[in-house]
Amino acid sequence: MKPPGHALHPGPSELWVRHIVLGYVVLLVAVPFTALLFFAFRDGFGTFWERITTPVALSAVWLTLWTGLLVGMINALLGTMTAWVLVRYPIPGKSLLSAAVDLPLAIPTLVAGVMLAILYGPTSLIGTKLSAFGVDIIFAQPGIVLALLLVTVPFVVRAVEPVLSEIDPAEEEAAITLGAGPWRTFRTVHFPAILPAALSGSLRSFGRAMGEFGSIVVVAGNIPEETLTAPVFIFGEIESGQAGGAAAVGALLLLIALALHASARLLENATGARHAQS
């Protein structure tokens, strides 16, 4: 296929601009990551392995992985439902609802953490009621999940929404004409169409949750082997001058994040869906 713009041959001045801009991108992005991987594996794979298998590091990575996975799954379900509501139901104030879904992309994650700490914190109205039952949200694992859910609200919604609104109504009509109920119509007509988009959104929210720092710092309490997530662990290692440990866990997270990003990207390319952050 002829690429778009193939007819436009760049002149010498355009080539200069291109080299400068692309050089900037490569220097800014590729070089720091290379440094990170270089530092992580500089002392050999054995050292790398030792650093990521210390009890504190291991439990931090594990906490980050399972909370991220949980959040990805909850988002797949509720994000699809939200997209459905936004596309299908002519409810009043829909544009406000739509803006609310985008809010977590704009609100600083640290502020999101502060909000949750105020609402569910140990001295708040809800917090005191819950701790009477022995349930803690803030400075405990539920707070981490809640914070991750807050910051990842848009991902599945924004991935599924365009796909859902482009499904041909004729398909649905045909299913209904053939006697299928609403649930069956959804399962046979809509579900197969939106599945890749929901999956890519879910992977995006998993990836985002894995890297979350600002809100977690406020709500998690950061107790080693309990509520210390991997990004906070990395931050602590940097603060205490342990660049080696930080680089090892950082490289591990980087590789997982790249794998997630690549799979989400493949799904997006296959379906034409777009990433929520753009």
Binding site: A35, L36, L97, V153, G214, F235, A243, A247, L260, S278
Partner: protein, 332 residues
């Protein structure tokens, strides 16, 4: 009837009979549909039942979705506003207008300005190069432009510390020219430029792919130089997308915490930004300052978000206009 992928309704070949064509090419008429597709017969009660089920489904979904968004998003937002109000407006205003708070705001503002300026230029030219040009390593650079969205801000900070920090790979070079990046404004600027890189490039690239090259080729054919084409044709076409990307970058920059904390170190009056100011105020239990600044940032981000929504609607309207214009031309 528009065409569907799985089942297709054909024109009625005979009076009162509708044919449904399955993907396999198999045809059957309504009323005697095969078991495989529709075990339910079309009794007159069926549409009523469908309507009822739909109504129930709608109520359940609305309750679930609104309840969920309220629980994780709107209630926390409301409680921040309420808590700030309860602290007393006068005290909050005093706390956020103290010199250190103003310094933090000024630092954040400078970072936003720099990020907006650099990304507007890099985003436009980068997108043009990535979409319109063909060269070795294009898909690699394309992938690089996406990466900052996929990795944790802390890791970005860490990567830069390992690169330009005290024992970093580049520290001999930086020492030689006397440039200190870690715990300075320039380090934070580096981190900010990194995290905000994708927004303008992606937005502009998306629009460039959408609009194609017809107008640009026309301009070239009419004798315009490449730069004339760029400033008179390409740039006006991507103007809205560029504005959109710049606003996204500004919002992200204003809210960035992890990377600027690692690289800036949050030194009061020097490298403290609005977000690290909130963090430090919470650590010091100085709640009026923390909540006040949090509300200020939340308000800024809501304003940015509303302008984004407005631009999105304007863009959709413009696209709709241009599409109907082409259709008008097509129909004699």
């Amino acid at each position: 009837m528009p065409k569907a992928d799985r089942l297709r309704r054909l024109e009625s070949p005979a009076e009162g009979l509708t044919l449904i064509e399955a993907e396999s090419g198999e045809r059957f008429s309504i009323g005697e549909a095969p078991q495989r597709v529709a075990p339910l017969s079309m009794t007159p009660a069926a549409p009523e039942r469908v309507e009822r089920e739909r109504a129930v489904g709608k109520v359940v979904l609305l309750v679930l979705v609104l309840g969920y968004l309220g629980f994780v998003l709107l209630a926390p937002l409301g409680s921040l506003l309420l808590a700030t109000w309860e602290l007393g407006m006068a005290e909050v205003l005093k706390a956020v207008s103290e010199p250190l708070a103003l310094d933090a705001l000024a630092t954040s503002g400078l970072l936003v300005l720099a990020a907006v300026g650099v990304n507007a230029v890099v985003g436009t030219f980068g997108a043009v190069a990535l979409v319109r040009h063909r060269f070795f390593g294009r898909s690699f650079v394309n992938a690089l432009c996406d990466l900052p969205l996929a990795v944790s801000p802390v890791m970005i900070g860490l990567a830069f510390i390992l690169l330009v920090g005290r024992d970093g790979v580049m520290s001999p070079v930086l020492d030689a020219i006397g440039l200190k990046l870690v715990f300075t404004f320039w380090g934070m600027l580096l981190a900010t430029l990194f995290v905000t890189l994708p927004y303008t490039v992606r937005e502009v690239a998306y629009v460039l792919e959408e609009i194609g090259t017809d107008e640009e080729e026309a301009a070239i054919t009419l004798g315009a130089s490449p730069w004339q084409t760029f400033f008179r044709v390409t740039l006006p076409n991507v103007r809205v997308a560029l504005g959109y990307g710049v606003l996204m970058a500004a919002a992200r920059c204003l809210g960035e915490f992890g990377a600027v904390l690692v690289l800036g170190g949050s030194i009061s009056g020097q490298t403290q930004t609005a977000t690290t100011f909130i963090h430090d105020s919470i650590e010091e239990r100085h709640l009026p300052a923390a909540y006040g600044m949090a509300v200020l940032l939340a308000v800024c981000s809501v304003v940015l978000l509303l302008s984004l929504e407005w631009m999105k609607q304007r863009q959709a309207a413009a696209r709709h206009r241009s599409r109907s214009a082409t259709e008008d031309e097509a129909t004699p």
